[in-house]
Every structure is written in C-alpha cells, then in structure tokens.
Symmetry: C2
Subunit: 236 residues, 2 copies
Amino acid sequence: MKEKEFSKKMVMPKKTNIKYCEGLVSIADRYELLHQRGIAIWFTGLSGSGKSTIAMALEKAFFEKRKLSYLLDSDNVRLGISKDLGFSKKDRKENIRRIGEVSKLFVEAGFIVLLSFISPYRADRDEVKRLHEAANLKFVEVFVDCPLAEAERRDPKGLYKKAREGKIENFTGIDDPYEAPVRADLCLRTDQLTLEEEVAAVLGYLECNHIIDVQCLNQSDSNRQNAQEIKSGASV
Amino acid sequence: MKEKEFSKKMVMPKKTNIKYCEGLVSIADRYELLHQRGIAIWFTGLSGSGKSTIAMALEKAFFEKRKLSYLLDSDNVRLGISKDLGFSKKDRKENIRRIGEVSKLFVEAGFIVLLSFISPYRADRDEVKRLHEAANLKFVEVFVDCPLAEAERRDPKGLYKKAREGKIENFTGIDDPYEAPVRADLCLRTDQLTLEEEVAAVLGYLECNHIIDVQCLNQSDSNRQNAQEIKSGASV
C-alpha cells in the first residue's frame, strides 16, 4: 500500500483565503490503523428496490468480519444534514452533493461507507464518483435493479400507493424520472436474487477486485492478531 | 458500557414519509470494534488563536496511541460540504449546522472528531452541542482563548492585515463579532501555553473525566485487554 496513492490532492480553492489543510496523520496512516482501505459503496435504485436492506445486511457482514463500515441512508440524512432540502431536481442535486462530500470524508477517514440513496439523476451520481476518484479514493457504484412493477408491488412504506393517489409529488418512478446507471460496477437484480446472494455478490466483487480483503479477520482472536499485524507492519 | 446509552434516539421526522433507520450494527458495536468511544472535541476561537495547530497535534497524538481520530477543519469543509456558503451570519449558521450534523455521524461511527472552527456565535455552537447530547453522544467544547491583539500579531495567513485594509469583510474580531463560550469544558490560553502543554491539557481533561482512556493502548496486549474491559462493563 503506497502512501502516495492515498494522499489528498491539492484542491483549488473556490473562495479567497481558503486552502486545503493536509494534517499530520495521512489517509494511509488511518488505513493502516484500521487494517482496511476506505471505500464508498453507492447503492442506487428505485424506492423499494432493496438498497437499504442490502446495505444493512452488508454493514452487519462487515462487522462480523471486524471491518468498520457505516451506513448512510437517505431517510437518515434527510433528517440531518439535508433537512432543509425538498425533492425538486435542484434540491435532489444538492442533497446528493452534500452526501458525496460526507462520503469523501468518511472514505478518507478509513471507513467502508455504505450509501443507500435513490439518487435518480446520472449526472449527480457521476459527480460524486468524480469527487472520490479525483482524490484517489475508491468508489463502487451498485445498481440495485428492480423493475418498477415489482418495487411497486412490494411498496414496503406504502409510498407508491400514496404517489399513485397523488398524495406525494416528485416520486421517483411515478412522476419523477429514474436514470439507470450506464456503467455500474455491479448490478443486482433484486427481483431474482435472495438477500444472501446479493450480499455475497457485493463481497465477492470486492474480493475479486482486491478492493478490500473481507475474509482475513474471521478468527476468534482477530483483535489480538490485528494488533500484532500493526506492529509488524503487515498490510491488509 | 451500556448499549442503551449509545442507542440512537428516535428523531421526529420533519418531512412526511421519512423515519429514522436504525441499522443492524449499533453504536456500541462500533465503539467495541474500535476500542474507543466516539467523541466530538470542538475548538472555538479567533482566527490565528491556534485551534487547528492544537487539533492537528492532537490527531497525531491520538494516532500514536492507536486511537482513531479525524480532523474537520474550517478551510477544508468550506471547500467541500459548505462550498456554496459565504460568511454572512446566516451562512455561518448553516455552515456550523452542517458541520454539526457531520460531526454527529462521525461520533456515531466511533471517531474522536476534532473540529476546528472559529464558530463565532454562541447559539450556533450550543445547537451543535444539543444535537450531540440529545443523541447521547459526547461533546466537549474547548475555548481556544487568545487575545485579539496576539492573534492579530501572529496573523499566520495575513488575514487580519487584509481585514484591516478592508480587503476582507465579515472578519471575526474585526468587523464581525466573536461570542466567547460561557461554560466551555476547557479553556486554553494559547498566548501563555506551549503547544505541548495545550495537547497535554486536552488529553488530561479527557482522562480525568474518564471520557476516553488515552493511555490504555500503550501496552503490548492492549487491544485484547480493552475488549475484555468493554465486555465486563468497564468504561473507557
């Protein structure tokens, strides 16, 4: 793991008197401390497609492997950092922009960030991807691909029903567009796969592409081993 | 350490159709995995008072103790999540609100978050403190107390000079107010202390108040011991 690979790139300031502050602990330092590389895994798809269900199951799977992950979920974010925003195209764009910036911070900090957002506009998602890649941070886009008819049949929150009745406006798939990814890193047909298969597909993708070793800490004495690895300088 | 203490409180939704999503990995789970409790340490003070210098030195000190910390700095945030904001009172309020929400996420995730922001308005800081405390998250306010004359004498970025010349507007301490904390958890007179003394004061405060055991990982078998302490209910 080369330190240079993870170094923060200089960002050109958009405001006078502001410049990027590097800090004394590098991204590589934190990745070493955590025995993992930070990564953003972005789940996009219709409401009811299964994004958050997969993300939650993955968070648990990572935890059981002693990997540190954190789930950022649309509903939670909209009660917090984006609580001043609505669902117009402009507000959706700003919502995704802010989430992208938060994600970048978490990836720099060393987390596996699981992001579950409808994020209907391709350009907004691409912008977040660019933000990460410009800083040499890993970003994986997962298309949670579920046909509208099936998502509407599930309707876990009863939102499609309300949207069809006109009680909710700007609802993705009904009166607002969803632009499917063109080059997602992974597609999950959630109308055809079980949750276990979906989780395995994501873990398998990460493993096959050597993005993060998710198998290495499945042992009873993993913490102790971890500490020894830090001291001996082993990479993961 | 009781799990209940760290559980996310139900947040009343401000928008229809949004409710808080709890996840399958609890805050206590993550604190156990990291062998530390998440905490926000907020440094407030004039430009040039030494906030970021202390925060950076602390980040390094925590790293050397194998504790996971992360520095959120005003200049960096303003190139990212708040890059659409200026320096009016309204924009400063929104900037601090967003930072507060990001801080909350990081503390929930298990980080020691070091926040270095002038944050001139008491009400804005208090709001961030309330946000954390309402979720049973630890928040420590550190007043980086440096007389204006000394901060202006240092003028590390040449900003006071520009402000005096009228080239920068809304500059805290010159043509914008700074409201000093009334009940800060810790005050550091940075015109009288060395950097080492300041770092020691913060670490000492955290230790004396059993907020985080910053010494415990200086031992060969410390990770394992920590895990046992957590399981037996000892605080860290």
